[in-house]
């Protein structure tokens, strides 16, 4: 079972994504802030990353993930209400894809399937 790390501070959103991904046979681990997310990332196959979070924001997390040899090949999908504005910046720091909140869960699924085949 593929392991997806969800770094997101909003509980209802976490619950919705967790439920949806489990329905589609993914193992979901959750970090409620950036720091925890960074620690848990090496075990994940894909990271879903929110941007506006306490402790450390998603962009910084992404930058660190992409600069560490251990985690730089893990696909990172930024899922944010700010995704509109973060297109360029996210691309520069090496995010794999972007999805604006609120989103259609099917779109999230198709993105995950694109970057995490099989």
């Amino acid at each position: 079972m593929r392991k997806i790390l969800l770094i997101e501070d909003n509980k209802p959103t976490v619950e919705m994504i967790q439920l949806f991904l489990k329905l589609h046979d993914y193992e979901v681990e959750v970090a409620y802030n950036g720091k925890d997310g960074l620690q848990m990332a090496p075990n994940a196959d894909l990271v879903l990353l929110d941007v506006m979070m306490p402790e450390m924001d998603g962009l910084e997390v992404c930058r660190r993930l992409k600069s560490s040899a251990e985690t730089k090949n893990i696909p990172v999908i930024i899922v944010s209400i700010k995704a509109d504005d973060l297109g360029k910046e996210g691309r520069e720091i090496g995010a794999t894809a972007y999805l604006a909140k609120p989103f259609d869960p099917e779109k999230l699924l198709s993105l995950i399937r694109r970057y995490l085949p099989g």
Binding site: T13, E15, M16, F20, L23, M52, K101, P105
Partner: protein, 629 residues
């Protein structure tokens, strides 16, 4: 014996003497007058000895007097010539001295010859009129010598008459010339030509010469001297002085006054001369004091007194005065110089008035300045308050924008699970649902989308407000497909209002470079407006076609329409023409403002067309193929 002609000559002698005295008194120090004096005296003697010759009773005495007559004739001629040299200014030339010296020599020679021989005049003979001259064989030499002197004089007088620019010199020369000419002709004929013809009348030359003297004397007194001497200038200067001047003798009687003095006092000069000076002083006692002060100090400076006019009017004056001494050091009188100070006083009064007026003005100005300063301070204060108010407003605006931005983000966050869960539910991923449940979930989803659209509008507006450009994430977009995707979403809204929806988009509509999401919002906004502002049963058309290097999308409705004056205004933020209607339709007046911003971010144009209220509206959007600017 008839001596009548002798008496004529005696009278001539007397006349010449009087004239000589009158003239020399006229100006004794003037050289020209001195020559004239000599000339007149010589004529007097010339007359006298001619008279004596005529009237004597012995031929020896007659001979003696006849010779003396010729001597004085010669002397008269020399003085006359010299007089003419001076008057014609020839005496200043180098030739004057030798010529005059030559004349003296010839004169002396002629007289010597005449005295020792009878070559010029023979012994006089007795006629009915007394003894008379008898000419000798060389008489012509004497005539020529005399004529030469006269001609020389005439020549130089003529020269002056022609060359001078002074009117006075011209007149004087002319008078003397005329007299000379007549005398020369008359004397020449009577005493020169007639004797040559053997006619012996009595000599007329002496009396004719006297007549010259009379004419010259007239010319001198009438026209003055040719040469303007310092003494004469002084006289004129005194006469024309621009202050009032009065010279009184030691008896305090007026001796000399200038023209201004007489004029200002309203008298003729002749009325004042010889009068006691206290007569025309308003305060004679004060004037007496001046006299006393002059005795003590010799002069007065800047005294103040007043003169009395003939009409008894009083003239206030400043007075300067001094005791005057003649060239021998003897005091001869006092000179008073008066300045009319009425005008000065008037000026002073005027100046005082002006100063008072200026002072008032200054005070007024100061008061105005004070007011102005106060007003300025007040204005400054107000302006500072205004600046602060504007700053506060700006801060409030920033806070508002920040609030809207944060709020729109915060509002999106809960929408994420709402949309996610409802999507999972409606798709049956969380178990089978009943139809009412499915309908309810559909409603939740639609309203969520509506809420999201509103939130997006607010977000875009805050961007517009803060002057940020709408950022585009560009990619090739087929607007045809975009419209086709929109149809299922808008169709239910049209159905709800029983509106017909017509879509006519060319099959080959150009693909453009643009931001899919933003273009989606643009179309949603514009079509949403058309549905909102068209009553039930209306018609909405979406037309898409290629234009030059781009596409044109028109959204046409047959709704309420727009008045012409509002066609441009509707693209401004928060503008809705009929607010009550917009409330009923649920908009906030941001749609078209955002739409315009999106179109402009793509380098396109958007405009509204309407024939007026009730005629429907067409929104025309031009988008270039090239996409964003």
């Amino acid at each position: 014996m008839n001596y009548s002609f002798g008496f004529v000559d005696l009278f001539g002698a007397l006349l010449a003497a009087v004239l000589a005295i009158v003239i020399i008194i006229h100006n004794p120090r003037e050289r020209l007058i001195q020559y004239f004096f000599g000339y007149a005296v010589m004529i007097g003697f010339f007359n006298l000895f001619n008279a004596l010759m005529i009237m004597t009773d012995s031929v020896n005495l007659a001979f003696h007097f006849e010779r003396l007559t010729i001597v004085f004739w010669s002397l008269f001629l020399l003085f006359f010539t010299k007089f003419c040299f001076v008057i014609s200014k020839f005496d200043r030339e180098k030739a004057a001295r030798p010529i005059f010296f030559g004349l003296i020599v010839v004169s002396a020679l002629v007289n010597y010859v005449n005295y020792v021989t009878d070559w010029i005049y023979k012994t006089p003979v007795m006629t009915g009129l007394g003894y008379s001259d008898v000419i000798g064989r060389w008489y012509l030499v004497f005539v020529v010598y005399s004529a030469l002197a006269v001609i020389l004089s005439i020549y130089f007088l003529m020269r002056t008459w022609r060359s001078t620019k002074s009117n006075r010199e011209k007149m004087q020369s002319l008078v003397i010339l005329t007299a000379l000419f007549i005398g020369f002709v008359a004397g020449g004929v009577l005493d020169g030509v007639l004797p040559l013809l053997g006619i012996f009348a009595q000599s007329t030359s002496p009396i004719i010469s006297t007549l010259y003297v009379m004419v010259f004397a007239y010319a001198l007194t009438r026209y003055g001297l040719l040469k303007v001497t310092p003494a004469l200038i002084a006289q004129d200067v005194f006469r024309m002085m621009p202050v009032m001047m009065e010279f009184v003798d030691l008896d305090r009687k007026v001796l000399v006054i200038n023209e201004l003095f007489a004029k200002n006092l309203g008298y003729k000069s002749s009325e004042l001369i010889g009068q006691e000076c206290k007569l025309f002083h308003a305060n004679p006692e004060l004037h007496e004091k001046f006299h006393q002060e002059l005795l003590l100090k010799g002069s007065i400076r800047q005294g103040e007194t007043a003169l009395l006019r003939k009409d008894r009017a009083i003239i206030p004056v400043n007075v300067d005065a001094a005791r005057v001494k003649d060239r021998f050091g003897e005091t001869i009188g006092e000179i008073f110089i008066y300045r009319d100070i009425i005008k000065e006083k008037e000026l002073l009064e005027k100046q005082k008035e002006i100063i008072v007026e200026l002072t008032k003005n200054k005070e007024r100005m100061l008061s105005i300045l004070e007011d102005t300063t106060e007003a300025r301070d007040e204005a400054k204060k107000k302006s500072e308050e205004l600046v602060k108010a504007v700053d506060d407003l700006k801060e409030v605006d920033r806070m508002k924008n920040r609030f809207l931005s944060v709020m729109s983000h915060e509002l999106r966050t809960p929408l994420t699970p709402i949309k996610g869960f409802s999507s999972m539910l409606i798709n049956g991923q969380l178990g089978p649902l009943t139809e009412p449940q499915i309908n309810a979930l559909g409603s939740i989803q639609r309203e969520s989308d509506h809420l999201l659209a509103l939130i997006d509008s607010i977000l875009d507006t805050t961007k517009l407000e803060t002057g940020r450009e709408i950022e585009l994430n560009t990619e090739p977009v087929s607007v045809k497909i975009l419209i086709e995707e929109l149809v299922p979403i808008i169709k239910p809204q049209c159905d709800q209002k029983e509106q017909s929806l017509e879509v006519k988009v060319s099959a080959d509509l150009n693909t453009i470079i643009g931001d899919r999401t933003k273009l989606h919002r643009l179309l949603t906004n514009v079509i949403g407006n058309a549905i909102n502002f068209t009553p039930n049963g209306g018609k909405i058309s979406i037309v898409g076609q290629n234009v030059d290097n781009g596409i044109e999308i028109k959204v046409i409705d047959n709704g309420i329409g727009i008045e012409e004056q509002y066609l441009e205004k509707i693209f401004e933020k928060f503008v809705q023409i009929d607010n009550s209607y917009s409330r009923a339709t649920g908009g906030v007046g941001l749609g078209l403002a955002i739409s315009q911003a999106i179109v402009e971010a793509h380098g396109g144009k958007i405009k509204a067309e309407s024939k007026g209220i009730g005629w429907g509206t067409t929104i025309a959007i031009d988008l270039p193929v090239g996409g964003s600017k």
